[in-house]
């Protein structure tokens, strides 16, 4: 499995490359929905090959942050720098082309299409040819389709899913659907991969397998990964840096050890200690 995807940085795995431009920088990011401030003063920097975690109680605003990063919502204030470039005003489509890929809390696959086609759609911008080449079956169609097929199969083999290539995406078991979503996101050649509750509904052995796969992805593709999770074993197990959100504001940032000892975090999850 050598160089399948062009490498974005020449980081030495698994160290975070502190001497290179961070892949993502959020500066005073915030969004209001009418009178409600959903996220406020969100500051975060993520290194080129860092695995970061975004945690917090339900309703804290974690998916809202993802939606801001992928421009499902436009921020009310603040800046998002992707690879040093300001993403202000970009659409969801543009920001994906700039290097942000994501999975969703509620799985969003192209359910009537095959597993392989789902991945090929991820490869849409990586392997283009014109509509006319497609309609008139010009040589470019044949050569690019062949390459797409090969690349899609390579990507599927990361999760050992090649044999499912022709299955209808909607008929896959739940865990396979989640993995397919990740493969599709990877196909877009991102600089950072945002995973929204990737372990939801998984049992401990599937979760352990997922942890290995996330590390494998980071090592193979030299990309950063940020994940939202509630499963603390997963988070503490693979995240190098963790950011804790509550009521739309960051209450703590740091390594897993620091976070576990942080009283504000404990209070957010477990509530205030009762007076004796």
């Amino acid at each position: 499995m050598s160089n399948m995807i062009p490498v974005k940085s020449d980081a030495i795995i698994p160290e975070r490359d502190a001497d290179k431009t961070p892949i993502l920088e959020c500066i005073s990011l915030g969004i209001d929905f009418g009178g409600l401030t959903a996220v406020d003063n969100f500051n975060l920097t993520i290194g080129r090959t860092e695995i970061a975690g975004l945690i917090g109680p339900n309703g804290a605003g974690k998916t809202t942050v993802f939606n801001l990063l992928t421009k499902v919502y436009q921020p009310t204030r603040g800046t998002i720098l992707l690879n040093g470039i300001d993403t202000h005003g970009m659409s969801t489509v543009k920001v994906n082309q700039a290097g942000v890929a994501r999975t969703f809390q509620n799985i969003r696959l192209f359910s009537t299409l095959s597993v392989e086609d789902n991945v090929k759609i991820g490869l849409h911008n990586q392997m283009p040819y014109s509509m006319w080449s497609g309609i008139f079956r010009l040589p470019k169609y044949w050569s690019v389709e062949k390459k797409s097929h090969e690349r899609a199969m390579e990507l599927l083999s990361i999760f050992d899913m090649q044999d499912l290539a022709d299955s209808r995406a909607g008929s896959l078991p739940y865990g396979a659907q989640r993995r397919l979503e990740i493969v599709r996101a990877l196909a877009t050649n991102p600089g950072i991969l945002l995973l929204d509750e990737p372990a939801a509904g998984m049992n401990p052995s599937e979760t352990a397998e997922l942890m290995d796969n996330i590390r494998k992805i980071r090592d193979m593709f030299h990309i950063a990964v940020m994940l939202i999770e509630h499963d603390m074993n997963l988070v503490m197990g693979i995240c190098e840096g963790i950011c804790v959100l509550n009521y739309g504001k960051i209450i703590a940032k740091g390594t897993p050890e620091e976070i576990q000892a942080n009283p504000a975090v404990i209070e957010a999850y477990l509530g205030k200690k009762k007076e004796a």
């Binding site: 696959l109 911008n125 497609g134 079956r137 996101a185």
Partner: protein, 356 residues
Amino acid sequence: MKNKGIRLTRTTRTSAFTYGLVIVAYIILRILIGFGGISSSLQGMLVPICAYVVMAISLNLTVGILGELSLGHAGFMSVGAFTGVTAAIAMTNGVPSAGLRLALAMLIAAACAAVAGVIIGIPVLRLKGDYLAIVTLAFGEIIKSILNNMYVGVDGAGLHFSMLTSSDALGLAADGKVIINGPMGISTIPELSSFTAGFILILVTLFIVLNLIHSRAGRAIMAQRDNRIAAESVGINVTKYKMMAFVVSAALAGAAGALFAMNFSTIVANKFDFNTSILILVFVVLGGLGNMWGSIIAAAALTILPELLRKFSDYRMLVYAIVLILVMLATNNPTIKQFFRKLFGKKKTEEDVSHE
């Protein structure tokens, strides 16, 4: 790559079946015509059937593949009919060969319908669901209204055009000819259409539509149909691909309109109304969304059906309506579907279980 070989065959098999269906039907019908085995009324319907088949395939591209309900598809047919016939008449002296004139007229019709598709697509494709459907209906009616009030004539100086007045207002020279006469439509149509031309148009339509679907653009179109937000999140420019499908669909409908019109000596804009749009929609839904060979069979069968029911005379449209309702109930009610499955001994699928 063993997988690739098998997979190509599966999609190719359905496509081959579709082409084969059309080619075999054409050959059989040609033979029957040669032996006089087809009634003259049925023979007269062959060109309209070809036109309706193309309409159904193109509407299936919009409703089944793009995934949006269009209630104004007859509007594109109308644009194609009027522009195609006008072009054919204007070319009478310039292009001697009838076949070539028909082909050029259909091309011009397709191009004009494509332009209409772009103009209409820009507002329409911004809306969703029932609202999109209603706006397509509105545009269909607008096109009908405009064409009903349009006057076009040709003379030595070229094409003359006027709205809402009369043919006199065109100011044609003595040797000039009125082509479109307001609500009277066109009454001097050169009848250039033929069954062979229709057959070729169907093949061209299938070539364009099937190749589009089984290509990168087709995948993008179907992706946004299944999940627009996910499609955007992987960098698909949804607006571009929605337009692509919509405009291709419109262009093909335009060509079908030209073919249809040049089968008759007169056409009026009122022929291409909401009822025609619904008629084509019924073909598409009955044949199966996204299923091109289904559209072909449904369009042909449902156009012939009222003819076959002639023996019921007055009751035939009633029978048509009842058949339609019963077929929709049979193909969509889970209990009835289950009944037929048990009858034919098929295994229950996961989908059936989840609906119980």
